[in-house]
Symmetry: C3
């Protein structure tokens, strides 16, 4: 193989690492943004027309609706009480300009002199590469309450 | 240094990043697989002759025995109740075709209108590079109950 | 562009990935080191003159003071009881030889036949590249108890 080809292949491999890192870092900013009360920054994890479907609350479509969800009384009540939206490491499937990922979210809420696990949920994310970097197209969240829906969300996506 | 040598060195550095990413992604699939009830997929994180030694339950040797553990009444009871096997980020020591890693596991189980931390454990993993990618050769899990065993598991591995 | 330039740019991009990985791995060693009772190893995550400011306890300046904090009665009491210092994935901002990162810490402590979330906190880290690799210059930790201080810590750092 010509050296130029070797270098081109290296660049492709590196881009895959960068893509995975970008997605990981994007999602790692979710908790800090919502718990700091910076709803606009949290909503900017999604694309303009992205969707966030929260178990027990229904789906919000578009960045503005997602920011409004974070500005709403339920979320604001949690952070006033003391809350941590801790997200687990993601299992990421990257396929060119699209990626899916699954992971857990655990919302800890201040309770007495400790914290309780208020919501523990399965999450499936879809990401798209955009001109502004990787953005979430969809996040589906379902409480792990023993029901089938959350378990199905954690199962591997069908490969297309 | 010749450019070809520079490129060869870059490729080695990149492979180390890819190896770390592969191990991280492998382990990030553990919780989703066991909580979805996909025991075969969870067991395939291990090599065919891999071992999983679970604090309080003893060791399972081989992929079939590991899958049987996940199909058993204890695990199935947890996921029917609502469970999340959340694993922390790993501290990875990579050494060519072998890697060791330490991290935490926390099993949340549905309890009333919240979740409780049912098991919190130390985990030490050993991984091998195989023709089918990185696989776990061994996972040792010990409850963090104040005993010496779990604490020893978290201590740095002796370098050979 | 000349091939040598392409290769030089690749090397820079790769170093950024390596830096992020090094920071992630450094922090992933924190919990295992403190919970194993290896205070010197835990303190070596910081630079010699690094600082650790713990919500409710005040700031320790320098590696020796930080190790002494881990050797003190509060921390030793927790690990004797059974403790896990689980740290979430970090949101990392890398800028050459300096990086900042935010994330959560959750200290689980053995309680009856389960574990309770004893401390749930926001953490902001500053890292510097040193001749001995990436080291923490500062870690500020604040309990997520509904107060402004922890929430401010999670907000994005002002870009300089």
């Amino acid at each position: 193989m010509e050296l130029a080809e070797v270098v081109a292949r290296l660049s492709e491999r590196l881009r895959e690492m960068e893509d995975r890192e970008a997605i990981r870092n994007l999602v790692a900013g979710y908790g800090p943004s919502v718990d700091a009360g910076d709803s606009a920054r949290a909503a900017a994890i999604w694309a303009q027309d992205g969707a966030y479907d929260v178990g027990g609350f229904g789906a919000s479509h578009g960045m503005e609706a997602i920011a409004a969800l974070f500005d709403g009384p339920t979320h604001q009540g949690l952070i006033a009480q003391g809350a941590a939206h801790l997200l687990s490491p993601l299992h990421i499937d990257l396929d060119g300009d699209v990626a899916t990922a699954v992971g857990y979210s655990c919302v800890f809420v201040r309770d007495g002199d400790g914290w309780r696990a208020h919501r523990v949920a399965a999450n499936r994310w879809t990401f798209h590469r955009t001109t502004g970097g990787w953005k979430a197209a969809e996040r589906v969240n379902r409480l792990l309450d023993g029901g089938e829906e959350a378990r199905a969300l954690l199962a591997p996506p069908a490969k297309t």
